[in-house]
Symmetry: C2
Subunit: 467 residues, 2 copies
């Protein structure tokens, strides 16, 4: 074992229980990587604390020994943020799964970092409330990882992203100091909001150990519509129209472009709810509090949209079963794409007014990079977020070509998947040198020895040798 | 003039227009203080840039000369954040008032820092949209100041605080580097969200020059209810009940406690909408998209609340005029309190489940600190935010006593007014040494010479003399 690892072990062995330290052959290969599927190194050490003070002891020891750590939650990330690099120990929050009861007056819940998202959703539901974020990996992804990556998903249009659900965070800095902002207040302007700083920082600034989360009233009505549209512009028109007409009743607005819709229906072999002759399909839904009036407002709005030429054909759910059935179509996109095997999977965000032009640009650039490439595009149109998945033998060339178009169109190369290790090389395309320099200054201020998730998001300049 | 001032002047006189530099007798006394009313120093220099690159030139020059700057927007702050300290120059954003047209597809607007809040509200309204924050100082308070202080107000329950309206910020760091995150994307997880870092940092980390703001669909229905309640617990019960029943239709939930209500009605001489025999009064309203159904749902919910004993009496608005009339009552609280003259004005935030116990604690502590003190309490109950205003001859003793109770109850000493200069001495009561140390590390990383709003929120340790 390397010297820093031994130094850390000699300290921690006397302070942590046996299950907290895995070394050598006891380390399961699952600790090496996340869902991004890159080749991770085998860690020499996996540390599994039971509580925040153990996290603090671990970080203190690793910081003193200059042992770099990669932080792991459910390892469902898609950008390689949790993948192990040579020489890194793993800090896994998997044993920190305490979940408090819902606080009913304020409508909040306190969860440790290792609690899976779905467990929070179910606890909220049992209390007659709803948690505002839902993503496909809900069963495995953890609250700590969700915070570190500012998870998005299908309900951002309604409730905002994960950032908006976080009322407070407890986090441990690289030197072991514990920042606990767990008051759970809706309003607090007493100094910097340190909790927000950790949201989306991908574990580079501190280790999130607990959070106080906001819950929302549970809707009692829901209705979904699957629409075929004549163009992407019609989709923007429909979004604007439904927002203006339905306000916050509008709860989801997902888009599927034609090649994906057709190929998916052929491959999975089911009957599409509408004729597959249109270039654009939208799945939209409402969730509200007023039975009868809500569904009526939705139906009337959709009729108007057809009359206005925004929608060609529409199927409206008439029951809970049909509602779930239409949403299954959206999940089928992922089922189809996973079954297709290795594909280049990009997750981009565009200003809505420039999305159409971006798609034209990207189509040409992609064809130039790989004439044989085929793009499958779907995503959260209401948030300007497209999942841009490409079957190609030249993934690097196509990624560079599409990201260049994102940059030209004023977009982001990562809407919700983060940067991790895998997108780091492209970050300079959409963030300026001044922005990257500011990020590095904040990183150096909170983790001067660069031990936490080193090399994720950006690289730090090499430190001067200490005296 | 002091040497650093001369050094800065000699550089800036050749680069800025004449109106950008005020010195000596040309400086109006209004630049010395904000609404907090403390005695501000007379600045030697007031700098009034026209655009972001002029802000960068100014900061660069001041940083090189180590000339400290206080940043000013509309000077409506209530914590002395914009008050001038001896030796400081003023950086006023008052000439940066460009406001772009509403982007209709995304529903966003780009404003320079000096644009008054009300101008943004009106531009949004003209485009059929609504801006999510409203505060009493709307006509004078500016977007830059609103961002720096994370402004709150009466619509936080519905739309969140100012933080939630900010899609991107352009800011200049102390060394003149410009961070421009103005893509206006609803989702962007590509590196740290630097925009959010500036929200609520009270001008200590950088100067906000522009922002891209989120707008919301404009409600078409509204209805307000003024209720008398048997207890504070009934108010929590009513809040929970209305939230669960009406969801996001519920738009405001303000409380006025008995002594204030009675004294205000006597002093201003109007007829109260309900009999003044209750300890607690609530003004609540809905804003929605479905005429008929919305008002019906509100009426039914209030009837149920009376039946359940949560509400004693209620007056429901039947017209736009009555709606505005009930909201005027809420504004009358400030009118009454301002007319009463100098009072201790605290703005605290409590976890809802502990607010009742806090009020009991605070009443006793306040009576101990000044037996003659009389407290007027009202505020945004839906956000856990109380304005706690005390008529007392011993403001320092009473403030300390009440803030101690806030700390014991797990609250915040500033819900929406910020810390500035005036509440700095109390910040340690509710933020830990580790939190304060982390704030200082971030401040030192972005403003190493401590030239921006020095001494606001917290003091920095004296810098080592440079070699």
């Amino acid at each position: 074992m390397a010297r820093p690892t031994n130094q850390v072990l000699s300290i921690l062995q006397t302070r942590l229980d046996k299950a907290a330290i895995l070394a050598g052959d006891a380390i399961d290969p699952r600790y090496s990587d996340d869902l991004s599927g890159g080749p991770g190194a085998r860690p020499e050490l996996v540390l599994r604390p039971r509580n925040t003070s153990e996290v603090a002891e671990i970080l203190n020891a690793c910081n003193a020994a200059r042992l770099p750590l990669v932080v792991q939650g459910g390892r469902t990330g898609l950008s390689g943020g949790a993948r192990v690099l040579a020489g890194e120990a793993v800090l896994s929050l998997e044993r920190m799964t305490a979940l408090q009861e819902v606080e009913p007056t304020a409508g909040t819940i306190v969860a440790e970092a290792g609690v899976p998202l779905q467990v929070v959703q179910e606890r909220a539901d049992a209390a007659g409330l709803v948690f505002g974020v839902d993503i496909g990996a809900r069963g495995t992804a953890t609250i700590g990882g969700n915070i570190a990556t500012n998870a998005g998903g299908i309900r951002v249009l309604r409730y905002g992203n994960f950032r908006a659900q976080v009322l407070g965070v407890e986090a441990v800095l690289a030197d072991g100091s514990v920042l606990s902002s767990m008051k759970g207040l809706a309003k607090d302007n007493s100094g910097y909001d340190l909790s927000q700083l950790f949201v989306g920082s991908e574990g580079t600034l501190g280790v999130v150990t607990r959070a106080c989360l906001r819950l929302h009233p549970k809707p009692v009505t829901q209705s979904a519509a699957f629409c075929s549209l004549p163009s992407l512009d019609a989709a923007f028109g429909l979004l604007k129209f439904l927002r203006g007409r339905l306000g916050n009743l509008l709860s989801g607005f997902e888009v599927i472009l034609a090649p994906l819709m057709g190929d998916m229906v052929s491959a999975l072999g089911f009957t599409a709810p509408v004729a597959l002759t249109s270039p654009v399909y939208v799945l939209t839904d409402i969730q509200g509090m007023t039975p009868g009036a809500d569904e009526e407002a939705f139906t009337e709005a959709l009729s108007q949209a057809i009359e206005d030429g925004l929608v060609e054909d529409v199927v409206l759910s008439q029951s809970e079963r049909e509602y779930q059935g239409l949403w299954t179509l959206r999940d089928d996109c992922n089922r189809f794409l996973f079954a297709e095997g290795a594909m280049l999977s990009l997750d981009v965000s565009l200003p809505l007014p420039r999305m159409g032009a971006f798609l034209d640009l990207a189509e040409a650039a992609q064809a130039h990079a790989d004439p044989a490439a085929r793009a499958y595009i779907f995503g959260h149109l209401g948030d300007g977020n497209l999942h841009y998945v490409v079957r190609t033998d030249r993934p690097n060339e196509v990624a560079k070509a599409v990201f260049d178009c994102v940059a030209k169109s004023g977009g982001s190369i990562s809407a919700e998947h983060g940067i991790g290790l895998d997108k780091k090389a492209y970050l300079h395309l959409t963030r300026t040198p001044a922005e990257l320099a500011a990020m590095r200054r904040i990183k150096a201020a909170l983790d001067p020895n660069n031990i936490l998730n080193r090399g994720r998001i950006f690289d730090m300049p090499p430190a001067l040798p200490s005296a």
